[in-house]
Symmetry: C2
Subunit: 345 residues, 2 copies
Amino acid sequence: MPALITNYSSEPEYSSYELRQKIRRGEIKGSTSGLARTMQANLIVLPSRYAKDFRNLCLRNPVPCPLLEYTSRGDYTSRLALDSDLRTDIPAYNVFKDGKLVSRRKSNIMDEWTDDHVGFLIGCSYSFETALKEAGLEPMCSKKNMAVPMYVTNIPLNSAGVFSGYYVVSMRSYKPCDIPRVREITGQYIKQHGEPIAWGWEGAEKIGVKRKIEMGLVDFGDFVDIPDDEVPVFWGCGVTPQVAVQESRLKGVVMSHLPGYVYASFFDSITLYIQPFPVTASPSIPGAAYAQSRIDQDTIGANAVTSRFPLFFAVVVIVEEKFFTSSKSLIRICPQFNVCHGSGS
Amino acid sequence: MPALITNYSSEPEYSSYELRQKIRRGEIKGSTSGLARTMQANLIVLPSRYAKDFRNLCLRNPVPCPLLEYTSRGDYTSRLALDSDLRTDIPAYNVFKDGKLVSRRKSNIMDEWTDDHVGFLIGCSYSFETALKEAGLEPMCSKKNMAVPMYVTNIPLNSAGVFSGYYVVSMRSYKPCDIPRVREITGQYIKQHGEPIAWGWEGAEKIGVKRKIEMGLVDFGDFVDIPDDEVPVFWGCGVTPQVAVQESRLKGVVMSHLPGYVYASFFDSITLYIQPFPVTASPSIPGAAYAQSRIDQDTIGANAVTSRFPLFFAVVVIVEEKFFTSSKSLIRICPQFNVCHGSGS
């Protein structure tokens, strides 16, 4: 199994900390893709009365809606990045009122965010696109510098309270012989939609999107031609919860990033120290910020904790990228986690 | 929100410990439903080479396939019950070889279980049926003492390695006015399929089972008539992984309980002690058995840990029912967990 710590082929222009600062100051207004060595995320901000149902929607639909973090009521900081502000650190926001889009491409949501809002961060496929590229499997949309094609399918979400809807998928095309490797690589990105949910023209038919592709249509993103020797491959997509939220016609003000176009760049290199009991409370890492209660347990979930240690102890330590660009050995601790991003060795 | 600790209206005949002993000795050969005050589970036993993919299948499809526990390679004990043996403690087993059913209703799988097998326990709806009954919402199948009707839907599972397939649902009918309450009650049983995934005739159409119901058919279980003033309501069903396993035509010997008919009764009253760091390693509870690494992290997952405490520490303490039938106060610790079964107050 390839290590999940990516050896970046080119150095990013900024640390994620610098990038957030620049976005906040309005110096970057476009897509953050490729600008920093970080996980990125979809943002949804909801009135607090919908928070429980929305969290359940994510937990019941982890493939299209992988929940990374949610804030306390009124709190606009993220524990997955130092000094971050969810109201200002994304280049473009959308604002909805009573289910209708009332403001598009806002540069911040300082005026809209109230003490009653809860922010949710949902995994995005940025991470596995980089890995695909480095395996010689760069998707056509990425090569052509276009947005990935996205389709609303016929697959119903598992309902949760006020929320229901259908899966949205992103589509990238591959030669049939490459699909096993594509499945293997992306399957490791548990919190960024994981392996594909369908592939091939038969798969396209099954999830109800074949005709749209044949007609050259997309529901979101850009249409990208499929070469004759390739077939479509479909992943769960982080636009799913945004569509579910819009279709649920929630009362009040809802906010999001601009779908299919701009993604949050909150996530710094994150290291998970998994230790059997007793655990050291304060490993002396300069700049380490202990993850607090609000980082979703699933973030440290699935793979490693229970299969390797006798009790369920874990400390999540978040280390700002800026602190360890010179100490490359620091972040080679938990190869099973896809949140272990770092500078490799 | 109603407490999840059930106040049983009638005393069960046996403790779950006694029940397992009786099943092991061959004194009980039928359904275990109602015989003990325990969670029950679906069992699937696979050659170890399929274990990783199957675990991912469960984690990617938590509503139909809620993973409760899986064993180490070759280990036939469950940490969710004392002195249990997965090879003998279910009244009836099925055995498959290379994808074909080769033996049905076996009383044990002592000869078939090898050092290379891994056992998986999947949540079952027994728990919420009791809660529905106690809320005056007993399903018709339960009233008539019939097996719940089950249908294979058109909803594709999120694929995982060698596994793919479609959701199986269980169906119970309700008056439309009762559906919100039914959703609320069952929604708390996160590891037993949770709230319904579809309801009403429109829902039946959407998931592709309307015509089968109208024709009086079932895929598993017994057909149960729907009164004129009621509509069908559908839950994810623990037969889903069993069908996926069969359809994947695995090489080697696969074992399960008899689907739709007999369920495991391994689960004793389980208490999760969630404590902020530092945690006490050995609370002095007579009979307490510490949960070891193999209890799935998701079992203690979703609801409470991260929302209530600053770090991710949890000790899972399993307390045999026999030890606290006289100390009813012991098990009122974590109302958010649906694994907190106990004798109430």
